[in-house]
Symmetry: C2
Subunit: 333 residues, 2 copies
């Protein structure tokens, strides 16, 4: 039996279909529809699951269930996603699991997008040799997840917010409204805001020229990588600042948790790769209470597919009793 995972992001919907071993045997990637609100996004996710099953050359009848990794606040039991500011018209609470289950005829599990990505790295990626890891995912924001005894530690539901560990009291402004959080230095949104402030103050950079050449409206991870390649001083300085903050926060987290490894992922983390992880390790070392037992700092191994793969792993690999599925629709439509 197959499981499908959906990584729901503000710019793209990525689906992976995995077999019993967690190997990806089919996938689909489309732009997140911006014009039809939450119903348009849900329809697109349903169609993408079907397309990924086609890509896997599998019949819909062999689909055991779908996991969805989503941003915002997840209510797993209610099957809803709330306050997902990066998704179109998604500031309120939207029922996601119910409509998808109705359309696909299989159970749908919701989970936090970063946490499924961390779990995928733990089970199948860079964290595989370890039973305890800290995942730090740098994208638009900075999210994270803690794996302890091979299991995600969720706390009261919100554990893993490494992006809002305070690295500098009264420091840089964070998109969360506070100051000095890790995300204020290492999240793309905050880094772009700082770059724009510096340009307003007359500082020079090629970041925005590169952005325009790539026909983007935001400083994407590819824009940052390109600017670094070209030796842009502002880009270098802002990445140095991100590395400094990541090193501090990771050191505090390791002194507290003493996990075996830190996995650096997310769009920016994956794009900058192993050298970035290595620099974070160097920045972390001076603040570790046990420097001789420094944990590994690794770049995420599953890349863009990690979120969708991790979402698929949320589906229990057992056949659910038929009564648990609210509506059985024609799976061959």
């Amino acid at each position: 039996m197959l499981r499908a995972g959906v990584d729901l992001g503000g710019t793209k919907i990525q689906v992976a279909v995995v077999d019993a071993e967690g190997t990806v045997i089919g996938q689909c990637r489309i732009a997140t529809p911006q014009d039809h609100g939450p119903p348009g996004v849900i329809d697109a996710m349903v169609q993408s699951v079907r397309d990924a099953m086609s890509d896997a050359k599998a019949d819909m009848g062999s689909l055991l269930g779908v996991g969805v990794g989503a941003p915002g606040q997840i209510d797993h039991d209610a099957g809803t996603v709330s306050h997902a500011g990066n998704l179109p018209d998604w500031l309120n609470t939207v029922a996601v699991a119910g409509p998808m289950r109705t359309a696909l005829g299989v159970p749908v599990e919701l989970a936090n997008d970063v946490q499924v990505g961390v779990m995928a790295e733990s089970q199948l990626g860079a964290g595989r040799p370890y039973s305890s890891i800290l995942g730090v995912f740098c994208g638009t924001g900075v999210g994270g997840g803690i794996v302890i005894n091979d299991d995600l530690w969720l706390g009261r539901g919100a554990a893993g917010e490494v992006g809002h560990m305070v690295v500098e009291p009264d420091g840089a402004p964070c998109p969360c409204g506070r100051r000095g959080c890790l995300e204020a230095y290492a999240g793309r949104a905050a880094m772009e805001a700082e770059a724009r402030r510096r340009v307003e103050h007359g500082k020079k950079t090629r970041l925005f020229d590169i952005m325009e050449k790539k026909e983007r409206t935001r400083l994407s991870s590819a824009v940052w990588a390109k600017a670094l390649d070209k030796g842009d001083h502002m880009a270098e300085d802002l990445i140095n600042r991100a590395v400094w903050a990541l090193g501090l926060a990771c050191a505090s987290a390791i002194n507290l948790l003493d996990v075996e490894a830190v996995v650096i992922g997310g769009g920016l983390g994956c794009r900058l790769g192993a050298p970035f992880a290595g620099r974070i390790r160097d920045a972390m070392l001076p603040h570790l209470i046990l420097q001789e037992k420094a944990p590994e700092v690794l770049s995420a191994a599953l890349g863009d597919l990690g979120g969708a793969t991790g979402a698929a792993l949320r589906v229990e690999p057992t056949v659910p009793p038929p009564g648990e599925i609210g509506v059985i629709v024609d799976r061959n439509d």
Copy 2:
């Protein structure tokens, strides 16, 4: 069957004898001998266990085992304590479990002093209603422990070093040799060093007068409490600074771990009690990502006996097979 716990500190040895329910039924407290090195300390622990059993009106034959909570680095399997700078002549590795087992004829379990204290608070004290807590113990230094699913999370052996989370980059000097750690603001040793620096710079305080009147050579928790009672400005300022740092570090830890409660213990934490815990909660709130789900911040409930009680709980409440005990001595000597 009874279990004994020893809280081994630089100034005192506290022993508790507990019954099957963990209720303390006998105790003994003596000053840590300073003049005969590790052998003198081990002899004193052995005699204190005997005295506490007498206090419990119990025969030594009913003693199931002894737990020892010690500072420094613990090697549980080897039964050794290393680098315990607060203990006399204890900078190297000292065998503790073996000699005590030989003298007492029962198994001896070693553990970290703060962690047994946190576990006692979790099982029998302020943390009892919760399955996940963060313990923050402010004494000479700042130690801690994480309880997850009712069990101590040890990481690779060194988890819980909340005192070395960084609260201010390049901040105040910490006894660990780094800068800006929580302990640099909220540990008594660092607070005293800062008070002495301020006095050298001509600042006034009654802290050292109070210390001399109490015939102490260090600013003990009682000295700090007395100075606060008398409205000493420097004491107030340094305690405010400790509260600020504890609030920041606890907020970062909660954003990461999302445990149900924070328990503030240790000599200084217990002495300043619930009002201190309440102030730490207020200082923590502005930095929490989910302010509406702020965890409880509680003062440790077991006080001075927490460490010894927690050490006793380290002994498995089952009769060990006789072969596991290396040497059986006359228990009635």
